[in-house]
């Protein structure tokens, strides 16, 4: 592997295992998050995502395995590694009686940021997460989504090279999700390595460059989003006259089954996007009044459902 030969810029974790009593939360997991890309960490509840992120954030010692944060071993040099890691937990955890501005300021102090630069940086981040108007409000009165955004700002205060975000999108309204997407893409463009764990796979299609699928404490699949999109996926098709659509599909020799959605649609498995375009053209040419023709699920969701994951 090339990561072994030349120093890997970004976050690399190999062979991570961690056990809690009888529960093997993480078993021999592997994750490479290159700088400049967003890496999604996907898996069912209890798969070990949060545990892995805690190990990567240098909060939890692994039973075995190595972590490198921009080439630094956090077990040996925790301070040097932590200066480069930003961690956003899945629990909110805000100091309730402090204001948003005070929380960011004190976090900057904890990261030993120079005093002079701190106020400007705090303002910058409050603007970034759209909390400038609520800067003087106690964190207690902020809504869940606002607290979530504050938590993101808190993880970014020291401009870390590696970002570890545990379910950052949970509780966010659609507008905030769009701006989260924008923020994360912006960070990746700045050359940061971003790791996002999330259950909203459609969201990750837009954000992530690559995905690591974990299940029952193991890495089960590593894919780029390009690869995921290139693999076969299902399309949902609906038409004004469902009977005509079914007849035409049968004539074309395309196998289909009744869609799972609310509306009257059929679901078709297609190998590539080109085949999809071809099928749509064929249907339209045959005079079928197609009203919707779209992937039934996102690329990553397709991968996820293809895996035989078990929830625990």
């Amino acid at each position: 592997m090339e990561a072994e030969t030349e120093p890997f810029t970004g976050l690399a974790a190999v062979g991570i295992s961690r056990r809690f009593g009888a529960v093997q939360a993480v078993a021999n997991m592997e994750l490479h998050a290159p700088a400049g890309e967003v890496t999604a960490l996907i898996g069912p509840n209890g798969a070990g995502k949060t545990t892995l992120l805690l190990v990567l954030a240098s909060l939890l010692a692994p039973d075995s395995g190595t972590v490198r944060v921009m080439g630094i071993d956090p077990m040996k040099e925790p301070a040097a590694a932590r200066a480069r890691i930003g961690w956003m937990p899945d629990t909110l955890g805000v100091w309730e009686s402090l204001t948003a501005r005070e929380i960011l300021t004190v976090m900057g102090k904890f990261y030993r940021m120079p005093k002079g630069r701190l106020p400007a940086r705090v303002d910058e981040l409050l603007d970034l997460v759209n909390l400038a108007e609520l800067a003087e409000q106690k964190a207690r009165v902020l809504s869940r989504g606002q607290q979530q955004r504050l938590s993101l700002a808190r993880a970014l205060i020291h401009d870390p090279d590696v970002l570890l975000l545990d379910e950052p999108a949970s509780g966010l309204d659609p507008g905030s999700r769009v701006s989260l997407r924008r923020i994360l893409r912006g960070l990746a463009a700045d050359g940061k390595a971003v790791v996002v764990s999330s259950h909203v796979l459609a969201e990750l299609d837009e954000i992530a460059d690559r995905a690591v699928f974990v299940n029952a404490g193991r890495t089960v699949l590593v894919q780029t989003v390009g690869q995921a999109a290139a693999q076969g996926r299902r399309y949902a098709i609906s038409a004004l006259d469902p009977a005509a659509l079914a007849a035409e599909l049968t004539r074309l020799g395309v196998s289909f089954d009744a869609g799972k959605g609310r509306r009257d649609s059929v679901s078709v498995a297609l190998g590539t996007e080109a085949q999809g375009a071809q099928l749509l053209a064929d249907l339209v040419r045959a005079g079928v009044a197609v009203t919707a023709f779209a992937p039934a699920a996102g690329a990553l969701e397709e991968s996820y459902l293809g895996l035989d994951v078990e929830q625990r």
Partner: protein
Amino acid sequence: MTIMENGTGPAPRTDAGPSGLGAYAAGVWAVVGMELRQRLRARGWYIMLVVWFGLIWLVTALTWASWKVQSSAQGDFGGVAGSAANGPGPLIFEAVLAFVLLFGLLVAPALSANAISGDRAGGTLAIMQVTLLRPGQLLWGKFLASWCAALAFLVVSVPFLVFGILQGGLGAGHILVALLMLAIELGVVCALGVGVSALANRPLFSIVVTYLVVAALTFGTLIAFGLGMMVTDGTVQANQVYYKNSYVATGPDGTVDPSQPSGQPELPQDITDQNDQFACYGPMQDQRAPRTDRVAWLLGMNPFVVVADAIPYPDRTSAAQQQYAVGAFESISQGARSAQAGPEATYQCANGKVAASYLSPQAPLWPLGLGLQLLLTAGVLALAWRALRTPAGRLAKGTRVA
């Protein structure tokens, strides 16, 4: 505590501040500032302060009123009481001091014992641990903040102590030493509370444990001392006691010697030592006596003993002064010191010497007691430091980092 190396890696936007001790102190200061800000916004703290003020006011007023009643009654009968002659100063001072210490011991755990377990429950501990803060900085910051909060209670009670001093009979030195010792005792309890809170998972549990530790220090040490005295039964060489003012000669075990004729007996011949009340005579014998000197350290750990023993009082061994302790604190101090001196010094006629009714100032007990308290605190804090280290190895059962 070992201090980890500073991150010297090329981190552009951090680590640009001062290095070494200055950076360490800056981190501690940041924690203190954040904690104090949160505490100042909590209404409960102000309510507690007001209640505290009211209670101390009540104690002062009642003490003063009771002195008034007493002294006027004594005036009616024409008696000259020692305390009345001195004025109510020492009385008020001691009453206020005792109550401030008592209430302080009750309040300090509440102020300190959820410092870290509360953060753990609220999910904010891990957020601090993931920064460049070290476990030691976290502990120092939390401790100093809770100590500051506890000292505010002391400040509120200063006017009453000053009032006691103004009533006469005491010097300003008393108030300074007393305040210093109270502050130290509050600090010990706060440090214990912060240490326990780092070890416990839930705030309620750490508060209860801290109260139990405080109870062990205030009551447990007394009980342990009492039990220990029985266990450490030893012997001391002593001869017979002759009571000059009584008409009966008794052995050291209190039995009346029937061979002695009633009426004033003659002074024995072989007197080894005597004063105007007692005489020691006869051959030395092994007498059973509790070796209090072996368990006095238990007594010394009691916060009340530490404070009482540290406050200076005049040397009353000279004949010109009354030969008994006046105040409650002086009595506590004398009691503790005689326990520390052991039977060799306090058993009547031990080694043929008349025991002094009042011990001359000897090695005080409070440095030993305070030292042991600090040792205990340091032990708890060392465990707390271990528990806060990250990356965390073993986790307490049933806890998550986040």
